[in-house]
């Protein structure tokens, strides 16, 4: 017989136990989001392939062919795609996570479950997209007959780092969005700009060469460390890993994730009233 005491200001203790109890809900919400995405579409899952491919083509043409930026000795498409992979994951995860609470407002105002399930499950959907894009990367590697370096074993670590970055920022935005709907406009804007100030279409070493004075500012962006890390893993030691940037990225991710959870938990009790 499970007993439960609800008291003003003392609901912490059951929360983490409840998260485990409601673990299946993670799966169900992610499953629902995946199903809903492609309902009534003709092309269906192929969109997950077509979108990154199109983006790859555009970026390669703009930065590689038109801009003629240096590629550090690897085929430009590979360079772009290995940067796109974490970026796409981050941007979709961030957008989905930020909107997750508001788009599930009917659940939040009518049913009890630990609210952390909602943003967490929204990130899982982006993970699926990421895996599909990773498959495309493998095909690209085959196409260019490029053997990935041994650093690839560290790839999972960088995936976790990307996950942490998107989850941390996503939690902040999700919690803030409940009360201040401005973020609905701010997030897409930030993501758009972010794609250009992160080394998606170009190499970080460019910044190191031409704008060495501002490299610290540039590295404040946690995705710089993540994307560089991805490139280092996939494309090999030619892509020097700028350690301070990575350290900054890890630092940011830790701070963002823990503070994100703290802020989320703090405002969670008013969600149902405000949403």
């Amino acid at each position: 017989m499970n007993e439960l005491t609800i008291e003003a200001g003392k609901t912490e203790r059951q929360y983490w136990r409840d998260l485990w109890k409601y673990r299946e809900l993670f799966y169900f919400l992610a499953w629902r989001d995946m199903l809903v995405r492609y309902k009534q579409t003709v092309v269906g899952v192929a969109w997950s392939v077509i979108r990154p491919l199109l983006m790859l083509i555009v970026l390669t043409v703009v930065f590689g062919k038109i801009g003629k930026l240096p590629s550090g000795g690897v085929p430009y498409p590979l360079l772009v795609f290995s940067g796109m992979l974490p970026w796409l994951f981050f941007s979709t995860a961030l957008t989905e996570c930020g909107n997750s609470l508001v788009s599930n407002s009917n659940l939040i105002s009518k049913i009890y479950f630990p609210r952390l399930v909602v943003p967490a499950s929204s990130v899982i959907v982006s993970l699926v997209d990421f895996l599909i894009s990773a498959l495309i990367l493998v095909i690209l590697l085959f196409w260019y007959r490029f053997i990935p370096s041994t650093n690839a074993v560290f790839l999972p670590l960088f995936v976790i780092l990307a996950f942490g970055a998107s989850f941390g920022v996503g939690l902040w935005i999700a919690a803030l969005m409940v009360e201040y709907r401005d973020f609905r406009f701010i997030v897409p804007f930030v993501v758009q700009i972010g794609m250009y100030i992160s080394p998606v279409g170009f190499l970080s070493s460019l910044v190191a060469e031409r704008y060495a004075r501002y490299q610290w500012l540039y590295s404040m962006n946690p995705m710089v460390g993540v994307i560089d890390g991805f490139r280092w893993c996939i494309l090999g030691g030619e892509q020097a890993l700028y350690w301070p940037a990575l350290a900054l990225a890890v630092g940011w991710v830790v701070v963002l994730t823990f503070s994100g959870i703290w802020y989320f938990r703090r405002t969670e009790r008013t969600f149902a009233d405000v949403i």
């Binding site: 439960l4 005491t5 609800i6 008291e7």
Partner: protein, 432 residues
């Protein structure tokens, strides 16, 4: 009495409601002010916003206990705090002060079809909704066929829910929730939708829950359902519990609070000519009602249970008519018709042409109603078509009496039956 499964102590819930500013700034002034002293302007706006928030206590010091197996009905006007109380009990929102202690798994049904996604099929939504309500995946798989059978939508299981009619939608949604089987079930007004068959099914399911000693907390405006289903009633008003006791008494308390300012006539002579309970389309042909008890004495407002009643209905016909009949009907306070006395039932009734003033005399040898308050309705029919009526013409209070001669009469239910009992000692049931 077993240990309470729900204990609520001094529960209060406060909301802050904002108010629109009375005066609107001209846009030009706003820009001017902002440019002249930007920080001061921002801060003053923020402070004004805070000041304009008013405190609203949706719940105030609510305390009660519910024991295992009890079915408690929660009634009150709109805005009394019933839904807020359920939300706090379901942990959707936190209390401002107070404490709640729950023993057992709680499942809440605050809205039918929560979590349903329009694009998904019925099958997919069963899993989704079940998971959201707290069922594990195996549990849903196990009960899947039962759920589908209860909802009667087998044929449309694989169609997206957005194509369902509202009835199907509600049936499916309730069906999933009905198979939750928690120890404590909290239900809010979900019976308001759906047709009669469906409502009966829902009540049947809740009856099953009651039979299995599940505790149910039930909010509804359907007083008949509350009366038939709940053992205890809690009445709420403006965030406070104003009554907590047996269900029937709770309903009476609630209805008394709702009564119009119309003077409640408990007298024996009632003027029907200008009565408020007459539908506007009818012309007043019913003029007066007189009530007498079994001893032909004017009824002082109280009738002993099972006592005789005589009613005189004075009418004045506008045009001479044949086949004129009068009706005297008894209703429960919640509006359910209990029994009807109609002159057409009388074997010796007259069918000849009548005109002008007439008096119908209705004799009821024994009115077998259980002690309580009842409404009396008077009607006038010509050729079995109603031409005049007065709803709630007067109230009748039936009081305790020694109907059976044993000093005991029921308080639950509506009627007193004539029933005789014997015991066949120690024998197998033989055909008597």
């Amino acid at each position: 009495m077993s240990q309470p499964v729900i204990t609520v102590e001094n529960l209060s819930k406060r909301y802050l409601i904002g108010h629109q500013r009375a005066r609107s700034d001209g846009f030009r002034h706003v820009i001017e002010a902002a440019l002249r002293a930007p920080f001061k302007w921002f801060r003053s706006r923020h402070e004004e916003k805070q000041r304009q928030k008013e405190e609203f206590w949706a719940l105030q010091n609510v305390s009660f206990e519910v024991c295992e197996g009890e079915v408690v009905g929660l009634i009150g006007r709109n805005g009394a705090g019933k839904s807020t109380l359920l939300k706090v009990l379901s942990r959707i929102t936190e209390p401002t002060t107070g404490k709640i202690h729950l023993r057992g798994r709680v499942a809440s049904l605050l809205e039918v079809g929560t979590g349903f996604h329009q694009e998904l099929t019925g099958r997919e939504n069963i899993f989704l909704n079940g998971a959201i309500l707290g069922m594990s995946r195996e549990e849903i798989k196990r009960k899947f066929d039962e759920i589908v059978a209860f909802s009667e939508i087998e044929k449309f299981l694989d169609t997206p829910v957005k194509h369902y009619s509202s009835g199907m939608y509600v049936r499916l949604a309730f069906s999933v929730a009905a198979h939750l089987d928690p120890e404590i079930l909290i239900v809010d007004e979900v019976l308001a939708v759906g047709d009669v068959t469906f409502q009966n099914k829902c009540l049947g399911k809740m009856e099953e829950a009651r039979a299995r000693s599940r505790t149910v907390l039930f909010v509804s405006h359907n007083l008949a359902a509350i009366e038939s289903f709940c053992s205890r009633g809690i009445v709420m008003q403006q965030g406070q519990v104003v009554f907590n006791g047996p269900c029937k008494d709770a309903i009476q308390f609630y209805l008394q609070g709702l009564r119009d300012n119309q003077t409640e006539s408990h007298s024996d002579v009632i003027d029907l000519g200008a009565a408020a309970g007459r539908p506007p389309k009818y012309r007043p042909q019913l003029k007066k009602l007189e009530l007498f008890d079994g001893n032909h004495q004017p009824l002082g407002g109280n009738l002993p249970a099972g006592g005789g009643l005589k009613a005189l209905i004075h009418i004045e016909l506008e045009t001479p008519s044949a086949n004129v009949d009068a009706e005297l009907a008894f209703f429960s306070l919640s509006g359910q018709r209990l029994c009807t006395a109609h002159s057409a039932y009388e074997p010796n009734s007259t069918h000849e042409r009548l005109e002008g003033r007439q008096v119908f005399v209705c004799q009821i040898p024994s009115l077998p109603l259980v002690p309580g308050e009842y409404k009396i309705r008077v009607g006038l029919d010509i050729a079995l078509r109603e031409v005049d009526c007065v709803e709630d013409a007067t109230r009748l209070t039936v009081i305790q009496s020694d109907f059976y001669g044993t000093g005991v009469i029921p308080t639950q239910g509506s009627f007193l039956l004539q029933n005789h009992w014997t015991l066949n000692c120690g024998q197998e049931a033989a055909v008597l």
